[in-house]
């Protein structure tokens, strides 16, 4: 499922508009690398209970490949792809959910948390967060090809 929402409609009323990045003009500009936004989005997504893991085998393989290309951006955060402009950012997430969670509610919570974390910490306006739920983790599925982090 991929649904997106403009941040203007999802931000709760009364929330102060975070400091904007594009304020500075003649005094110099501020540039935020994509990997910064990637890490913030990845941490914010994992904060929501019910998110079991992020990424897929494919995205991890591509990430490992991209890290070898200088300037290709580090993909130390699997399952998070971002596009960062001067004022705005777009975020694509691939998540694996726990069995027994409402995926609709989970996606909504992930989106809300990612938008507020990125907007508050970076001052970028998040124009969309696309969430792809790629897999579901069943309680007894620990011996699948996904190596669990904790035995």
């Amino acid at each position: 499922m991929t649904e997106s929402a403009a941040s203007g409609t999802t931000r709760p009323a009364g929330t102060p508009t975070p400091a904007r990045l594009a304020d500075e003009t003649s005094q110099g500009k501020t540039t935020i690398a994509a990997s910064v936004v990637q890490k913030i989005a990845g941490i914010a997504a994992r904060e929501i209970p019910g998110v079991y893991s992020m990424g897929t085998g494919t995205s991890r393989a591509i990430g490992a490949l991209r890290e070898r290309i200088p300037g290709g951006g580090t993909s130390s955060t699997p399952g998070v792809a971002v596009e960062v402009g001067e004022k705005q950012a777009a975020i694509d997430l691939e998540i694996i959910v726990e069995y027994g969670a409402s995926i609709v509610e989970l996606a909504r919570a992930v989106r809300r948390n990612v938008i507020s974390a990125v907007e508050q910490m970076t001052g970028l306006e998040v124009i969309e967060v696309n969430i792809a739920v790629n897999d579901i983790n069943l309680p007894e599925a620990h011996r699948s090809e996904e190596v669990p982090r904790v035995e």
Partner: protein, 106 residues
């Protein structure tokens, strides 16, 4: 530009609590080459009109209510105290979760 200016800028930037370290940028292009040493993360244009600063920020400081635009503005102010009216471009290269010098700050 005096050779020590780059080092004074570097220590002013590092003094900010949200800055974990200076970084030479994605291609190692943001650095000052001084006789016998190299200052990563600070580049001063030949005419001194522009200063580039590239840093890695600390996630803990951002979560403590210090967003990147605020950090950048404070860094810009700190650098302009040393350089006068130069334009200061701030690049946030990366983010770390390490809690640097937690004792030192208290």
């Amino acid at each position: 530009m005096s050779a020590e200016l780059a080092e004074r800028i570097a220590s002013a930037v590092l003094a900010h609590p949200a800055v974990a370290m200076l970084h030479a940028g994605p291609f190692g292009a943001i650095a000052s080459y001084l006789p016998g040493r190299r200052v990563d993360g600070v580049k001063i244009a030949l005419d001194g009109s522009t200063v580039d600063v590239a840093v890695v920020v600390d996630l803990a400081a951002l979560e403590a209510g210090r967003p990147i635009p605020v950090v950048a503005r404070q860094l810009r102010t700190a650098v302009r105290e040393l350089t006068g009216n130069a334009r200061v471009d701030v690049l946030i290269v990366d983010l770390v979760q390490a809690q640097r010098n937690e004792e030192d700050r208290r």
